[in-house]
Symmetry: C2
Subunit: 198 residues, 2 copies
């Protein structure tokens, strides 16, 4: 069966729902997902796609919508969470290392939980070090590595690959080139992947 | 059981999905919906909420997403359809009369079918007269009435009521004050209404 690329940025509010429920979706569907962090904000700014800034009515709806959806999934967010995240890029630089080293999922879940359920913004302290320690990484080592040109280059390259695929938001599920944007399209992506096997 | 207010503007692309499948949802759920046209564009412009203009990547995705969703519902749109609609306001002025006179649903379905499945923009000729004739209305009478101050005032008042409720997009489902935005939240709205009866 095809592997689904799960493109996301830590910093996306709706991606919280996906991050927290993806393991269950994998178990039930038999599909596997490849976690691919990107800097979606740079894509969105370049495309003049600013969904919530200076939009208080739409933003208020977003939090209520996430709250209701989270309840359906048995999650317990504390909303509104701090948003937007000043540390978005650093949060995803750390995830980029995690993708290489095999702990990206654990880190992303840990940092999202602290951010959305605990009120501590991802991508900055104390969230960064606490999340890395929790999953058995040395924060000092990882945070030094995250600031190196090599890691920045990898995140930029991944972001550029996402942009070239037509990705403009987080989360996006890429099923062999077929894109599904939004946590609310995860089931559609799964159905698409399963149907492609028939 | 509560009646759900279905707030929409002819001119919204995603509302096509709702318009075409709402009768089936009513039958299956036992719920009834009140069709309430508004001028959502004026709300969106006032709130700096311009989701697709100058956003070619996001717009291309929208059409693909609608195409896939339509296929799930057994619909056959011809995409991309003409968009945006210059005649949005007139299309919804006619719907405002239809809401009073009891033919709003038939008109909305007829005009959406011509627009999204046939390529004839709603809110202008030949779509307007053909859709009205099809449902047994006299186009000349209705189109004269649609330009009167009384009908314009009614649409403005409905739009203002929607805005005050926190509505910012089409379609929106209002279940006794609980808002669900997007065709993809229709099932959530139905669940909410059914749960409120328990």
């Amino acid at each position: 069966m095809p592997t689904i690329d799960f493109w996301y940025s830590i910093g996306s509010t709706y991606s919280y729902l996906t991050v927290m429920r993806l393991a269950g979706v994998e178990d039930r569907s038999g599909l596997s997902f490849r976690w691919r962090p990107m800097d979606v904000r740079s894509i969105m700014v370049a495309q003049n796609n600013i969904p919530f800034k200076y939009k208080p009515v739409k933003t208020a709806y977003m939090w209520r919508d996430i709250e209701r959806r989270a309840a359906r999934y048995g999650l317990h967010p504390r909303l509104p969470a701090p948003y937007p995240l000043p540390g978005l890029v650093l949060a995803n630089l750390v995830a980029t290392i995690g993708a290489e080293e095999g702990w990206i999922r654990d880190y992303t879940i840990a940092t999202y939980r602290r951010w959305i359920e605990g009120g501590d913004p991802a991508g900055q302290e104390p969230n960064l070090s606490a999340s890395l320690s929790e999953i058995g990484c040395d924060p000092e080592t990882i945070l030094l590595a995250a600031e190196t040109e090599e890691v920045k280059r990898r995140l930029r390259a991944e972001t550029e690959e996402a942009r070239k695929k037509g990705i403009f938001g987080s989360p996006t599920f890429d099923v062999e080139g077929e894109l599904f944007w939004g946590d609310d399209r995860l089931e559609d992506a799964v159905d698409w992947a399963l149907a492609s096997e028939e």
